[in-house]
Symmetry: C2
Amino acid sequence: MNKNEIRIFAPATIANISCGFDVLGLALEAVGDEMVVRKTSEKGIKITKLTGQDLPTETLQNVAGVAGLALLAASEYDGGFEIEIYKKIKAGSGIGSSAASSAGAVWAMNALLGNPFSKLELVKFAMEGERLASGVAHADNVAPALFGGFTLVRSYQPLDIINIPTPPALYATVIHPQIEVKTSDSRRILKTNISLEDGIKQWGNVGGLIAGLFTNDYDLIGRSLVDHIVEPIRSILIPGFDKVKEDALEAGALGCGISGSGPSIFALSEGEDIARSVAEAMKKVYQKIGVDNDVHVSKINTEGIKIL
Amino acid sequence: MNKNEIRIFAPATIANISCGFDVLGLALEAVGDEMVVRKTSEKGIKITKLTGQDLPTETLQNVAGVAGLALLAASEYDGGFEIEIYKKIKAGSGIGSSAASSAGAVWAMNALLGNPFSKLELVKFAMEGERLASGVAHADNVAPALFGGFTLVRSYQPLDIINIPTPPALYATVIHPQIEVKTSDSRRILKTNISLEDGIKQWGNVGGLIAGLFTNDYDLIGRSLVDHIVEPIRSILIPGFDKVKEDALEAGALGCGISGSGPSIFALSEGEDIARSVAEAMKKVYQKIGVDNDVHVSKINTEGIKIL
């Protein structure tokens, strides 16, 4: 590695953590893409390699390309970048595949330029990649990818991202049933109105979850990992969801919900042993109904993107 | 004072702290009632004295009486209690007048009985007083009165109360314009549905507020003290609200909103000096439009009810 090239790990992320729909996300340690980014004298962004997934490599069709161009447009740097993307995260799995590429690209470019941009600015650039991927420039995956740990997107206008501490024994289990749920479909079925009563429950739980994360109160985290609003609707799109959740909780998970807009399902547990039992329980459900799946057990990644 | 009698301070409280509608409250130090509670061999509860406000003293018509009966019903104690109430908090002012009496009564009775009940149980008894006062057994005033500091009512079923830390330099300013707003009216004008979009903003702000309280981040507390849902509707019932809020923020308040269901308006500030400037600014608005008012500047009371 020289100063003109960097190899990084860009983590998978869980957005829409139960009650924290659209605001709370976290970064994973055990799952993520690798990327190589290098400076070029030629202007612009080129995706020179993309393995692991069948995704477009034209700059304007690739989330890393689009996010990178947003950074370049704001930068005084006169050259360009080449990007190699080694996808390990499956596109459409609901654990921030596009966010990893978008966030990874701008993080690496920023590092190669001597870090002229803040993490908050990088989130804004990466959000342009998210806009390409889903039509909505959301921040709830790119924020944890860039900041690490748990992140709260308190507000979009202005963009305000708050890092929330991670209890040391917290582990995530994620199962990806290999069915397709499009983010756009998953967003379309949401109601535009909710009852005030459900809203109150939801922000009570968000308050409880944040308090639990600050105080390492695993039981409070578990009690707060409830979603009265989105999960009851979206879970309909995920076969086996109710049973997976039931068995995950029975296996000891603190809470369980839809990762992002699905189809992946996540659970949080206290300690790796329980997280692994939860993984087994979740896997069994999909084996029984004959749906192929990937399972990941991971510590929460408090660092975010890192150099390899 | 002997072991059969106790004199206590029962604090005023602010409920519905901006984004924390129905879930977040805090206790004040500078405003509250005094109560004397004594054991009697005669069963039941008697309100033997009530000064400062024109309120019923028949046990079943008095919130302290009703809350006290709820405790007695759950207790093995064979005697009764006499209660003297010296009201300093004006009824209907929106700073937890009924909650102070309800919570004070059960706290004192519990102390005289050797504390057989937990604070959470006391909240449940005191909620019966709130049911009498407003028709709804809400906990968002009695919880901070009993626990002190900031409290989150995460859930009602089951009742789950979380104590949130208080940043040391946080002061409250409360102005009570002497107009009548009935809690029941104030509740009736609320819409039963809200937009999902507003809900997301609200729980983003609740998350930010809780995080700010844990980290003493006054700026984040200020950014999060926003209510997109209830304040725009309820503030219509409070003449001068918009101007009071504008001038409070201009005077340096971190945030400003409706206390409880009004008509009192609260502001939170970093430091007593700013809180006093905020009080002046608020007062001027009501002087100009000719509305009598009381203003209080207070540290947050982290102790709750206490023995005098």
